[in-house]
C-alpha cells in the first residue's frame, strides 16, 4: 500500500470533478438554448483493486453523462404541436376572411341586397320613371360588385393556400434530410463510444418543429437513430439514415396541387393528400379543399337562386318599349354558341370569366378544356372566348358532330358568385316593371320582384335571401370564434407541457451553481489530498537522505 495509490486516487478525483464541472458549465452555457436537455455526470466508484491482500477502491469515475430525456413527453409535445399548428393556421386564415363578411362593421352584401329590393319598391311607385329604373340598375350593379368582392376574397385565399404548399413542402424536405443526417451522426458518435447528447437534442427540436407542420410519430431505435412515420397512413418519412421526399404534382390541376411522397428507402412517388389532415400543412389542404370552397358554394347558391328567380319573374314582364322576355341577370349557368371550326364560344356574357378557367358543356366541350383568350363584351352586347386543351395548351378539338346551337356552359363549382352579373343588354328601358304588354304604366311585375325580398326561397324554402346571407355570416362568425377558442386551449395545453418538460429537462441555474460549488470544494479536497500525500512522501524522502 503506497502513497502512490492515494495520489492516484486523488488525481482520479481531480479528473472526475474537472469533467463534472465541464458538464455543469455546458449546462450553464446552454441554459437558454431551445431544445437543450440538461445533462448530469454520473459519478460512480471506480473498479476495486486488490492491493497487498486489501480490496481497495481506485477512486471515482464518470460512468456516463446522463441526458434527462423523456420520450413519452417528447411524443406528447409533438402531438400538441401538431394540433396547435393545425388550429393556428386555420384560425389565422379564417380571421383574414372574416372582414369580407363583416356586415356588422361595414355595409356588405346584406346592405346592398336590401337596397336592391328597396329600389324595386321605389319602382313600384313610379313604373314609368327613368330615375327609378336607373336606381334599380345601379343597385343591381352594386350588389353584383359586392358579391364579386366576397367571392374574390375566398378564391384568392384558396390560391394563396395552394401557393403556400410549395415552400412548406421544401421546408419539410430540408428537415427530413437533416434528421437523417443527425441520425447518421448519432450512430457514428456512439460507435466510438462518444456522447451524442447535443446531436440528439438538435434532432428532438427538429422533430418538434416538423410536428407543427405535419403529424408524425417517432420511435427511437436501439442504435440511437429515430424513425419518423406519418400519422394516419404510417408512411416512412425517415428510416435510419434515409429520408423520404415530399413533392407537388402541379400539372394535373394547376389550381390544386397534389402532395406526393417518396417514402424513405422507396422509389415511387404516391399521392398522400387524403391522409394529410394534421399540422399546418393539413390545415392548408383542408382550407383549400373543404372549408373555403364550402363558403364559396353557399355564396354561389345565393347568387344562382337570386339570378334564377329574378330572371323568371322579369322574363314574364314587359318593359317601357312594350318588349318582353329579357333576362335581368346573365343566366347561371351561362349559355353560349359553340363554333367548332374556330374553337370559339360566342354570344356569351364574359363578365367574371378569366383565362385558364375550366369550362365544360355536355359532350361538346369535354373535361380538361379551359378558356384561352377572352374577347370582352362590347358595350351593351355579349362577347366571346376561345377554348384550349389544358394539358397541351393547343386549341381543343371539337367533337366530330357537335350538338351546336346555344349550349349551357358549366363553370367550376363555386364560381357562381363571381359570374353573377347584369345582362349586358339591360338598359333603363328594358327593365320590365309591367305585367301587361299594352300598358307600360302597370307596376305589378315590379311588385312581384320587390316581393321576392320576403319570399323564403333558400335552404329548402326556410330562409329569405337576406336570411340566408345572415346565416352564412353567423356560421362564419361561429367558425372563427371556435377556432380562436381552440387556439387558446391548444396554446395553454402546449404551454403546460412545455413547463412540465422544463421541469425535468430544463437547466436550473440554482442547481447547477450549487453543483458547481460542490465540485469545486471536492476538487479542492482532492488537491489537498495530493499535497498531503506529497508532503508525506517528502517526509519519507527526508528519512532516506
Amino acid at each position: 500500500m503506497s502513497l502512490n495509490a492515494s495520489m492516484q486516487i486523488a488525481v482520479n478525483g481531480l479528473n472526475v470533478f474537472r469533467s463534472a464541472t465541464a458538464v455543469v458549465s455546458q449546462n450553464i452555457a446552454n441554459v437558454s438554448t431551445p431544445g437543450y436537455t440538461r445533462q448530469k455526470a454520473i459519478i460512480e466508484t471506480a473498479p476495486t483493486t486488490n492491493l497487498s491482500g486489501f480490496t481497495l477502491g481506485s477512486g471515482a469515475m464518470i460512468s456516463s453523462v446522463e441526458r434527462f430525456h423523456d420520450a413519452l413527453m417528447q411524443q406528447q409535445m409533438a402531438n400538441s404541436e401538431t394540433t396547435l399548428g393545425y388550429d393556428t393556421a386555420k384560425s389565422m386564415v379564417l380571421q383574414q376572411i372574416e372582414p369580407a363578411f363583416n356586415d356588422i362593421g361595414t355595409d356588405g352584401v346584406g346592405a346592398s341586397l336590401a337596397h336592391f329590393f328597396a329600389a324595386w319598391q321605389d319602382l313600384t311607385n313610379n313604373p314609368g320613371g327613368i330615375a327609378e329604373r336607373q336606381s334599380v340598375l345601379s343597385n343591381a350593379q352594386i350588389l353584383a360588385d359586392d358579391l364579386h368582392a366576397a367571392s374574390k376574397t375566398l378564391t384568392d385565399m384558396i390560391s394563396l393556400q395552394n401557393d403556400s404548399l410549395a415552400p412548406v413542402i421544401d421546408d419539410i424536405n430540408i428537415k427530413l434530410k437533416e434528421i437523417a443526417r443527425l441520425n447518421q451522426q448519432v450512430t457514428i458518435t456512439e460507435m466510438v463510444s462518444g456522447n451524442a447528447n447535443e446531436v440528439k437534442d438538435k434532432r428532438d427540436l427538429l422533430l418538434l418543429q416538423l410536428a407543427k407542420q405535419i403529424g408524425i410519430t417517432s420511435t427511437e431505435n436501439s442504435d440511437g437513430t429515430v424513425d419518423v412515420k406519418l400519422v394516419g397512413g404510417g408512411e416512412a418519412l425517415v428510416t435510419g439514415t434515409n429520408a423520404g421526399t415530399f413533392s407537388l404534382d402541379k400539372t394535373t390541376d394547376p389550381k390544386s396541387y397534389k402532395v406526393q411522397l417518396i417514402p424513405a428507402k422507396g422509389t415511387v412517388a404516391s399521392i398522400v393528400n387524403p391522409t394529410l389532415s394534421t399540422g399546418s400543412l393539413g390545415a392548408a389542404l383542408a382550407l383549400r379543399d373543404t372549408i373555403i370552397p364550402d363558403y364559396l358554394t353557399q355564396l354561389g347558391d345565393l347568387a344562382t337562386t337570386m339570378a334564377t328567380e329574378i330572371n323568371t319573374l322579369h322574363a314574364a314582364g314587359y318593359d317601357l318599349n312594350k318588349g318582353t322576355l329579357k333576362d335581368f341577370f346573365s343566366p347561371i349557368p351561362r349559355t353560349g354558341v359553340l363554333d367548332g371550326s374556330t374553337n370559339t364560344v360566342s354570344s356569351v356574357d364574359v363578365t367574371g370569366l378569366w383565362v385558364g378557367m375550366k369550362v365544360t358543356s355536355g359532350t361538346d366541350i369535354p373535361d380538361g378544356t379551359v378558356i384561352g383568350t377572352i374577347t370582352p363584351n362590347p358595350s351593351g352586347t355579349t362577347g366571346s372566348f376561345t377554348l384550349i386543351n389544358a394539358a397541351t395548351g393547343l386549341p381543343f378539338t371539337p367533337p366530330a358532330s357537335p350538338v351546336g346551337g346555344t349550349t349551357a356552359l358549366t363553370f367550376p363549382n363555386g364560381s357562381a358568385a363571381a359570374l353573377f352579373s347584369i345582362n349586358p343588354s339591360m338598359t333603363t328601358y328594358t327593365v320590365a316593371a309591367s305585367s301587361q304588354s299594352s300598358n307600360a304604366g302597370d307596376n305589378l311585375n315590379a311588385v312581384a320582384i320587390a316581393g321576392l325580398a320576403t319570399k323564403r326561397l333558400m335552404s329548402n324554402e326556410t330562409l329569405t335571401f337576406s336570411g340566408y346571407w345572415n346565416a352564412l355570416i353567423s356560421k362564419m362568425g361561429l367558425d372563427v370564434n371556435s377556432s380562436k377558442t381552440n387556439v387558446a386551449q391548444d396554446e395553454a395545453f402546449n404551454n403546460q407541457l412545455s413547463v412540465l418538460k422544463d421541469s425535468t429537462a430544463g437547466v436550473s441555474l440554482d442547481q447547477e451553481l450549487s453543483d458547481m460549488m460542490m465540485y469545486q470544494r471536492s476538487y479542492q479536497a482532492c488537491a489537498q489530498v495530493i499535497s498531503t500525500a506529497a508532503a508525506m512522501m517528502d517526509m519519507v524522502l527526508e528519512i532516506v537522505r
Binding site: V31, E98, T124, N126, S474, G477, N481, G506, L513
Partner: protein
C-alpha cells in the same frame, strides 16, 4: 416539482400575454363603443343584430312607400273635390233653370254652352296629373285617360269616322251623344295622315256584337250623319298597389272607369255613367235650333244626384285609404323604434362597467409586470463570491 428559472420566465410571459389580451378586448369595446365588432365576437347575437338591421331597413322602405302613396292620395282628394264641385255647379244650374227658360231659345243656347264648358272641365279634372302620371288612368297612366274629341256618326251605322285614333285600341269604353250606353271601341282603322283626325273605328257592345249609332231624338230631328262629342276612356281598372308593411299591399288609385263611367267593382262607387248623363242633359236642354224637354231634364237631374253620390263614395274610400296608410306609418315607426332599441341594447357598451373592468385589469397587469421583474432578478449568482 422541480422549478427552473426558464419555467418561471415562460409562465410569466404567457400570463403577461393573456393579461394584454384581456386589456385589448376591453379597450376595443370602449373605443368602438360597440359590444360586437365582428361576427366572431358573439355569433348568436350578431345573427340577431343582422336580422334586426334588415327589418329596420324594411320598415324604412315601407314608410318611403307610404309617403309617396300619401302624396298620390292627397292629389286624388283634390281632383275628386274638384269633380264634386263641378257636379254641384251643374246641379245648381239645373235647379236654377225653370220650365220657362227651356222655352227660350237664347237661354237654351246659354245653358247648352255652359254644359259644354262644364263637360270639358269634368274631362280636364279627370285628366289631372301627379308628376307625369295621370291619377285616374288606373294602370295605364302615361296617357290622358279621357280622350275627348269630335267624331262623325251615321244613323244605324257602327262606324265612327273623322277621329284621331292615336292611342286608341279595342275594348276601350266610348260615350257620346248617339252612342248606345255600354259601347266599346271594336276595330280601329289607322289615321291616313298621322296625328290628324283621319281615322275611324267601329262600335261593339259588351258581348262583342257590333252596335250602331242612333241619331238623338230632337225637335226638329237631327240629320244623319251628325257630329258627336266623344269621350273615350283609355285607362284601365287596375288600382295600383304598394307594399305598406310586410306582406301587406294597399291599393291607392281611384280609376276613371269606376269614377266617371260607373263600371268596375271592388270597390264600386256607383253605376252612373256621368259622361252619359252630361250628354243626355245637353240633348234634353236643346239649343237655339232644337227645343228642350223639361221631363228629360228632370230625369237627367235625378241621375246627376246619383253621380254626385258616386263621386262622394270615391272621396270617402280615398279618405279611408289615407287613414289606413297614416295608421300603418305610425305602426311601422313604432316597430322600427322597438327594433332599434333591441339593436342598441345588444350593442350598447356599459361604459361605467367596462371602464372599471379596464381599471382592474390594468392594476392586475401592472402587478404581474412588477412581479416578473422582481423574480427574474433573483439568482444565486448574486450571492456567490
Amino acid at each position: 416539482m422541480r422549478v427552473t428559472a426558464n419555467m418561471t420566465a415562460e409562465l410569466s410571459v404567457y400570463n403577461i400575454q393573456q393579461g394584454r389580451d384581456r386589456i385589448d378586448k376591453i379597450t376595443e369595446k370602449l373605443t368602438s363603443n360597440q359590444m360586437i365588432n365582428r361576427p366572431s365576437d358573439d355569433p348568436v347575437s350578431s345573427g340577431t343584430l343582422l336580422d334586426v338591421k334588415e327589418k329596420i331597413t324594411a320598415y324604412e322602405q315601407f314608410n318611403v312607400n307610404i309617403s309617396k302613396c300619401k302624396s298620390w292620395l292627397d292629389v286624388t282628394t283634390n281632383g275628386l273635390t274638384g269633380l264634386s264641385n263641378i257636379l254641384d255647379a251643374i246641379r245648381n244650374m239645373i235647379s236654377g233653370s225653370s220650365s220657362l227658360s227651356i222655352q227660350d231659345p237664347t237661354q237654351r243656347q246659354v245653358a247648352h254652352d255652359q254644359l259644354v264648358e262644364l263637360k270639358k272641365q269634368l274631362v280636364e279634372m279627370g285628366n289631372v296629373q301627379y308628376g307625369d302620371q295621370y291619377i285616374f288612368g288606373g294602370g295605364n297612366n302615361l296617357v290622358p285617360p279621357f280622350n275627348q274629341q269630335t267624331g262623325t256618326l251615321t244613323d244605324n251605322d257602327p262606324n265612327v269616322t273623322g277621329v284621331d285614333v292615336t292611342g286608341l285600341s279595342a275594348g276601350m269604353p266610348v260615350t257620346g251623344t248617339g252612342i248606345p250606353p255600354g259601347s266599346f271601341v271594336d276595330v280601329v282603322t289607322a289615321n291616313t295622315t298621322p296625328n290628324t283626325a283621319t281615322g275611324s273605328f267601329t262600335l261593339r257592345d259588351v258581348n262583342g256584337n257590333p252596335v250602331s249609332a242612333t241619331v238623338p231624338t230632337t225637335t226638329p230631328p237631327t240629320l244623319s250623319p251628325f257630329n258627336s262629342d266623344l269621350v273615350i276612356y283609355t285607362g284601365d281598372s287596375n288600382q295600383r298597389e304598394v307594399e305598406i308593411t310586410t306582406n301587406t299591399r294597399q291599393a291607392f288609385s281611384t280609376t276613371g272607369d269606376r269614377l266617371l263611367l260607373g263600371t268596375g267593382s271592388n270597390p264600386s262607387y256607383g253605376s252612373t255613367n256621368v259622361l252619359q248623363v252630361m250628354d243626355d242633359l245637353m240633348t234634353a236642354f236643346g239649343d237655339t235650333t232644337h227645343t228642350g224637354d223639361a221631363a228629360a231634364v228632370a230625369a237627367a237631374g235625378k241621375k246627376l244626384e246619383s253621380a254626385a253620390i258616386q263621386v262622394n263614395a270615391a272621396i270617402t274610400i280615398n279618405s279611408s285609404r289615407i287613414l289606413r296608410v297614416d295608421n300603418m306609418a305610425n305602426l311601422n315607426d313604432i316597430n322600427k323604434t322597438t327594433l332599434t332599441t333591441i339593436s342598441t341594447s345588444i350593442q350598447n357598451v356599459d361604459l361605467a362597467k367596462y371602464g372599471m373592468q379596464l381599471n382592474a385589469e390594468q392594476t392586475a397587469f401592472q402587478a404581474s409586470l412588477a412581479a416578473t421583474a422582481r423574480i427574474s432578478q433573483m439568482s444565486l449568482l448574486d450571492y456567490l463570491r
